[in-house]
Symmetry: C2
């Protein structure tokens, strides 16, 4: 059976990137690789829409998140974090491990954080040194209004806006400099369509100033050391050479398509999937602001979401994702990240219909597909 | 735009085979490669359903066809060939180049050869030394009744049944020994889902006896020399090493699935495509016995088949095939060979619907897809 990877990370890697990574290994200090890093450094700035350097770290995105805490805060510092899902929760856990005192904005799963709640929390405690949130919360399929939250945070000179954009950057607009995001973390295995193993972090001047004062223990995720290395087109430790060569190829292809075109295409695919599901009576799980990156779909009444997700894999070779924690069995999730295009959305819709049919659902096959086709028609 | 290869050869190559072929090159006389050839030799017998050796030649299928003429016939010999399309025509051209006197059974495109016509021709001229035909005529999408034709030919001790099964073997039943096929030619880039560059030929004992008498000029396609080399697990000239390593992987995967399962799956996919097309009013071009290997679809009245084929590529990244000769503009063709499965059929149907819609066709999107889904539902 042919296999299809439609999970929200790791995502499908294009043949072009796989081929680039299959090339003979470069030494990480070889002149040829220094040139690769030089190009990648510039292209990452383009992707992040920033004038600041984007650090490249050999770890998954979580390593970037840890560094985004340890490099900017000291034990005893106060931080505010948005907890609207599994990944929001993670910000809180990292802060706790570093002795950072946290204020939590608990958001019901499926909803977005309200900027006014952030405003109120900061007003109540102006000593808060950082606000942590996700751009796209992968566990619930919700996109938080980070632009609006950042406007609130910018009113506080000593507070940083730190965004986990791991599953957002390159899928929908995250404009680092224009919006004033201080720290943006991303990763390889989501929108960049690479195998896991790289984290990317951009830091604003405001961020670097605060980093001077941070006293948290750190060694591998020392951003200052990475910044110095990057100035010489190097990484502080051994570079993940093959992944970075793949990154160069991935960024090259993204630049050829252009950010606006990418965002429009991904948005069209996400809309097609959502509308197709609605057409066969399956609701989108998010109650507001569904993310383009991943579509969380509520299992219809009487059907187990885990069963749908398992059947997709066992009967049709499709790896999607189930629900996490209390959403287990209630939702299943389909990625819109990675090397996916028009017909991957068609595959997802057709397969979901076929799985439901096999489970006894009375839907008419092709109904959702027809709706998706309509939205995906080439101009 | 993501690309999809749905042409009737070259066909999609699986990642597993691409990976096998990307391995460091073996020398063609290295002990390790001799072992590869040994295994491939056995597996080809399995695929051809024969006890005879299957020769492996570094050429496309046409080279195998040429050898199937030059190794068994002498100038002035008489041969009968079935001409029901571009590839039937080719048998006639090769025979002519070798000074073989040909009797032609002209079959209208879209129809199959009638075994009684072969019987009549052989009865009329019992000196005919070979009957040439296709198992699947790729230009028209028709499968000839080679089993029945072979029964006729078996009545003549000095006449060989020579079959071009290039786009048939491994897609539907071609039972070399049980049916008594004397010479069966196949190629890499069709059902075997390899890049082009290999021809395979099985020869019966009756065939080898006739080969002793054949006086046609030949050098590279000298089957006797290949047979001797194969006995030592070699090829007569330099082996196409990477392709044969890929072949080993492809055969391994086919054996894992099993011939019966492969035939059932391919048949289901071809039926799904045909029924889906019928459901949106598009007729199958073959008037009888549509081949499982490739589906030739008649363009609906008022629509140009070449335009459909071009739009599939330009608007949706799908490479299908147009019509050949007088069918140009009248049909377009979709492959069912190569590394294709359930959702490639769905892609084909969805894309054809979308292309027609874009050309102003009034069809309801999803109609054909729904029909295909119904047939492709996993048990």
């Amino acid at each position: 059976m042919k296999k299809y990877l439609l999970a929200p990370g790791p995502t499908q890697v294009s043949p072009e990137v796989l081929l680039a990574m299959a090339q003979p290994l470069l030494h990480h200090r070889a002149p040829e690789f220094v040139e690769v890093l030089k190009r990648v450094k510039e292209d990452l700035k383009w992707l992040f829409q920033t004038q600041n350097d984007v650090l490249i770290i050999a770890s998954t995105g979580t390593g970037g998140m840890e560094g985004a805490v340890s490099n900017f805060l000291s034990p005893g510092d106060k931080a505010l974090f948005v907890n609207g899902g599994k990944f929001g929760e993670r910000w809180g856990k990292i802060c706790k491990n570093y002795g950072v005192l946290t204020e939590e904005i608990k958001v019901e799963w499926g909803y977005v954080v309200k900027p006014e709640d952030v405003a109120q929390a900061l007003k109540k405690d102006p000593s808060i040194k950082a606000v942590f949130t996700q751009a796209s919360e992968t566990s619930t399929g919700v996109a938080h209004p980070i632009r609006e939250v950042t406007e609130v945070v910018r009113g506080y000179d000593d507070c940083l806006m730190i965004v986990d954009a791991i599953s957002a950057l390159g899928v929908f607009e995250v404009n680092t400099d224009a919006w004033g995001l201080d720290v943006v973390v991303s990763g390889a295995q989501k929108a960049l369509a690479l195998p896991p193993g790289l984290a990317f972090v951009s830091v604003s001047e405001k961020g670097w100033r605060q980093a001077e004062k941070a006293k948290s223990a750190k060694f591998y995720f020392d951003f200052k050391k990475e910044r110095e290395a990057l100035a010489k087109n190097q990484t502080a430790y051994t570079s993940a050479v093959s992944l970075i060569v793949g990154l160069e190829q991935s960024l090259k292809m993204m630049k050829e398509e252009g950010l606006e075109n990418i965002f429009a295409r991904r948005s069209r695919m996400a809309t097609a999937l959502r509308e197709a599901m609605a057409g066969i009576g399956l609701a989108s799980f998010p109650k507001e602001s569904p993310s383009v990156s991943v579509t969380a779909i509520s299992a219809p009444d009487g059907y187990d979401g885990q069963e749908i997700y398992k059947n997709l894999r066992l009967k049709y070779g499709i790896t999607a994702a189930g629900g996490q924690d209390h959403l287990k069995g209630k939702v299943f999730r389909i990625s819109n990240m990675g090397d996916l295009d028009t017909f991957d959305t068609i595959i997802a819709v057709a397969a979901i219909e076929m799985v439901l049919k096999g489970m006894g659902h009375p839907l008419k096959l092709g109904t959702g597909v027809g709706i998706a086709q309509e939205i995906l028609l080439a101009k």
